[in-house]
Symmetry: C3
Subunit: 250 residues, 3 copies
Amino acid sequence: FPIGGRRQKPRHVGLTMVIDKGLGLTEFGDLLEVAAPYIDFIKLGFGTSVFYPAPILREKIRLARSYGVEIFPGGTFFEVAVLQGRLELYLKTAGELGYTFIEVSDGTINMSLAQRYDAVARAREAGFGVITEVGKKDPRDAVGEIKILNLMATDVEAGADYVIVEGRETGQGVVIYDKNGVVKEETLELLLQGVQNAERIIWEAPQKQQQQALIMRLGPNVNLGNVQPGDVLALEALRVGLRGDTLRAA
Amino acid sequence: FPIGGRRQKPRHVGLTMVIDKGLGLTEFGDLLEVAAPYIDFIKLGFGTSVFYPAPILREKIRLARSYGVEIFPGGTFFEVAVLQGRLELYLKTAGELGYTFIEVSDGTINMSLAQRYDAVARAREAGFGVITEVGKKDPRDAVGEIKILNLMATDVEAGADYVIVEGRETGQGVVIYDKNGVVKEETLELLLQGVQNAERIIWEAPQKQQQQALIMRLGPNVNLGNVQPGDVLALEALRVGLRGDTLRAA
Amino acid sequence: FPIGGRRQKPRHVGLTMVIDKGLGLTEFGDLLEVAAPYIDFIKLGFGTSVFYPAPILREKIRLARSYGVEIFPGGTFFEVAVLQGRLELYLKTAGELGYTFIEVSDGTINMSLAQRYDAVARAREAGFGVITEVGKKDPRDAVGEIKILNLMATDVEAGADYVIVEGRETGQGVVIYDKNGVVKEETLELLLQGVQNAERIIWEAPQKQQQQALIMRLGPNVNLGNVQPGDVLALEALRVGLRGDTLRAA
């Protein structure tokens, strides 16, 4: 490959996290059959997982894990559970369904740092891997880089495996992206300079130009999230220099 | 759920109409298996239905109906039939294929009010449910709110079950959307104030921001159309407050 | 149909070339079952074909050909082979996998006219149909119309069956498209006036507005490429006037 050093699974960097907004069982199986070696995590977006017929949800979870892919429900579902004071029930149900990872976020609700720390710790104790998310969904709630760095440090200390930097479905006007979806270099650099362990960050990067920019800046093994199911092989091609954009630089 | 009151099927409000531009049989079955409880209508977009091998089209129609989902051909096909003076043949063929609903529109052709009334009535007499559409596809043909309100009233009087407000595939520069796809509040309010029965309106809303805006304004049981097959569960999450955007407001 | 004269397969004009970024086997079979009569070529985009499990890639190639659809790997893969001095190996492997067409491009790398001529001729000698591509992927490398016309003439002389005009995945800021994806009339006319055999050109046109503009200018049998799998039937509807946009003009 034109760009060398791409890690193979199992790996702790170079992760690709796919967002699934409601794939049917056949499509889901198709995706795994073709692309499982290039997918580390699948997130069932938002609260969509609650709408699946239970046997189908269980089968998706089983199928993903049988291909060596971790699967977890989106953080919005967690946030509703916290709002309603039902975190225990949420963790119990998640475990029964077969999930092994949980996303802890406060993209919409407000949580104190102590509450957040506690939620991460409780998910860990219940046996889950934990992925947290930083960054608010609504531009009116935007938080600064210092706050984000603090959250990241606390999350990792509480036991989080990875921290997602919010990119939303559009990748526009959120944390490291401006309203056109272009990476804000200054914000990105501030985060990179301030973070203890950049390898724990998963950057949500729904747009190809964003994936490309982050690969150019952070190399083929940058962790990327909110990747569309149909874009997994194209992203892998970007990572190893088999697309014009990264091939030119190689 | 954070937002209560969402109606279950069978229902006469809170409808979700999906646009299908050519899904294959397996994908179509996948969609229904996962999301049929959240889909009321599937529209086979434009004139695409004419291109299917006949056995596949029949099977799609059968499959949809077996899941309690109504399916109908896009209005462009009807318009061509009217242009060619073959409405009878069109209705006969539609019936033989198994369709139970017909879309009556003049998004591109010109029809007098009398012709339109007659077409709705004839489809009704032939045993079909009828969905009409208001709003021109080409910005150069744009019609005002008064005209649209008149059409809506006439259509319902002629026997239409629902009236779709045109949103096109893009949701840009058409009826209630400006060229960036943002809802024009003033137009929306004029239509809402003038209409007799707002529950008969299906708002085409292909973009997530549009679905969100209409849910915020009209509640979880607003009728929405031109929803992408892959967005059905995500829309349902929006309706009940399981996404950041509507959760924040809940 | 409102617009007459649409050619049926097998045909040498009116081609639709689909871009496949990694469809699974079932989706791929679904697409062919529904839409094979409307697809002439499938391009496995960029270098994605290298990531498929070998049995799946072979099965995709076999399946496409069994439906009378030609399938070929994207040019980026060819460019890497040339960069690495492994053109022979590339052609040999492609033949063993069952490909019958090869794309020759220099969207990212630099090739002399002689090298390019030689590559086309060698692929031909090895028994492949050849599709070349003109136009650079990176705006910084943009080439003028004269250069493009020269390349086209040379490619055809060297034995190319078709010449693709680069449109990228986005259709923005490349050859005939401005940065908003609008067709640059002047560039288009210059190319049309200068080219010997316009029927050999396949215009990459990923956006619907681009497909529509080219159909309006060049008729229902214009060759179009980089069509999304889910858009094949909708494009066919555009070609024959079964969508508002082209129906209005018909």
